[in-house]
């Protein structure tokens, strides 16, 4: 059984994600997961076994804070250092239209492995657009509410009280998306080259054309401007 498709270096490939995007993506992965597992120790009400991995609740709290600061830095590096990419990403999300809705409606079938005919997608398909909306929003809320909970005494009490449910809701939404995203970006057969796009930065040209026709045409195909 094949887990993820083999990386083929000898076929034409096109760039999907630049170095900074990939670096911050995996930096975010590591820091997010560290925050998640240290935080779950509290969310699950006394998950002692989970806290024990980090040396008890004080250790878990320390790791949580260090990882949270690192995560904030990673997000800031991504937004500032990759500003053009961020703008292009947001613009792509805002192109959410008919083809994306069709994609999302057909997605449950594709998710389970049925073959479906999907209309041309932009750089991010309907599902990826959804993830691109929910996860970053949740992470921004996580970061803001997290710092409020870290130093509650300098904030109004009402805001601190609001930060608790916001932190939990954002965590659950982000984690739910991360579970799906992690699976769809790797072991789901329909995703094919996506993993290599984020790991090596390039995807097979035919896959790009097949899965993200609009993006491929606009960037590398006939409609590519000035390249």
């Amino acid at each position: 059984m094949q887990w993820i498709p083999e990386y083929k270096g000898d076929v034409p490939r096109v760039e999907r994600f630049n170095f900074l995007s990939r670096f911050t993506h995996w930096g975010h992965t590591v820091t997010f997961l560290l925050c998640l597992f240290t935080g779950l120790a509290l969310f699950l009400d006394s998950a002692d076994w989970l806290a024990a991995i980090f040396g008890g609740f004080h250790g878990a709290g320390l790791v949580h804070r260090i990882a949270a600061v690192a995560m904030t830095i990673v997000v800031v590096i991504f937004v500032i250092g990759n500003f053009k990419v961020v703008i292009a990403w947001i613009k792509d999300i805002l192109r959410f239209g008919k083809n994306d809705i069709i994609f999302i409606m057909l997605f449950p079938l594709e998710f389970l492995g049925f073959k479906v005919k999907v209309p041309p997608q932009t750089k991010f398909n309907g599902g990826e657009k959804g993830n691109s909306m929910i996860t970053p929003t949740a992470v921004i809320f996580l970061i803001l509410s997290g710092y409020i909970m870290w130093v509650p005494s300098i904030f109004p009490a009402g805001l601190v009280r609001l930060a608790y449910p916001i932190h939990d809701i954002s965590m659950v939404l982000a984690t739910m998306m991360v579970c799906m995203h992690g699976y769809l970006g790797s072991f789901h057969p329909g995703s094919g080259e996506s993993f290599w796009g984020m790991w090596k930065g390039t995807v097979r040209e035919d896959w790009a054309e097949h899965h993200h026709k609009t993006w491929y045409d606009e960037t590398y195909g006939d409609k590519a401007s000035g390249e």
Partner: protein, 266 residues
């Protein structure tokens, strides 16, 4: 066991702050020196090293004119404490006789309790990264002694005993005060939050003593505890389970179709 508590009769209190000192002494709490704020109150609020304070409240009533009240303030030892329900470590417990006890050994300093408490009583002690608050002198009471504050009170304003008996005394005292120059005299702690394990006889309405008229656990906290915490997290196992199902079905369907390419939609 019968509920044991303190009855504090504000009409007998001279604000000598002996209770404050006795509390510091018994609980071995270091002095906290706060700058002079223009009144007699020693501390703005209870803090990590001050479990009880005497508040001095100055105000002006449109009818009665200027008033000057004092009141001993500390943990109210609620019967269904919000601090206990939010604590992720189970550091809080109720003793059989009604004290809300906080175990510093279990505390991890998350401060959820501070913001869940309708009175914001649990306070953060930064040097130990722990929460502290009044224990109702659990260690003394369980050895048959009275709490340090009640024992030291020279005027009898603080009385320790069984809650039912103290409630009767409080009712009588409030009735007496109402008939003798304090028409708004009332009891606090009898019904508030389902009955506090702390009783007050007040010479005026609770708001004149800086006490909330209708104390409530903040709505954000109940929403968080009763809805978000128990139910919302299930989205995560659902996402994981869905992925696991997909992992199996995609491969079954691929084998059935004899499809060994990288798959995907056509």
């Amino acid at each position: 066991m019968a509920k044991m508590t303190n009855l504090y009769d504000v009409s007998k209190c001279t604000a000598c702050r002996g209770c404050q000192v006795a509390c510091k002494d018994w609980n071995q709490l270091p002095a906290v020196i706060e700058p002079f704020k223009g009144n007699y109150q020693t501390h703005e609020d209870t803090n990590g090293d001050t479990f009880t304070i005497v508040k001095f409240i100055e105000g002006e009533d449109p009818v009665d004119g200027v008033y000057w009240n004092f009141i001993k303030y500390q943990c109210m030892h609620c019967s269904d404490p919000a601090c206990m329900s939010v604590c992720p470590q189970g550091a809080y417990s109720k003793t059989s006789w009604g004290a809300t006890y906080h175990d510093p050994e279990k505390c991890i300093g998350c401060q959820y309790c501070t913001y869940a408490c309708p009175f914001e009583i649990p306070k953060y002690r930064a040097r130990e990264d722990k929460i502290t608050k009044c224990t109702l002198c659990v260690d003394r009471v369980e050895e048959g002694l009275t709490p340090a504050c009640a024992r030291t009170c020279p005027t009898g304003a603080l009385k320790f005993g069984e809650r039912d008996e103290l409630l009767q005394i409080a009712e009588e005292r409030a009735k007496f005060l109402r008939a003798n120059g304090f028409p708004r005299a009332t009891i606090y702690g009898k019904v508030e939050l389902g009955g506090l394990n702390k009783l007050y006889v007040l010479t005026d309405t609770p708001d004149k003593f800086d006490l909330p008229l209708d104390p409530k656990v903040p709505g954000q906290i109940t929403f968080w505890q009763n809805w978000v915490q128990p139910y919302f997290g299930w989205l995560i196992p659902i996402a994981l389970g869905g992925s696991a199902i997909s992992f199996v079905t995609t491969r079954i369907l691929a084998n059935k179709n004899g499809d060994h390419t990288e798959g995907g939609h056509e």
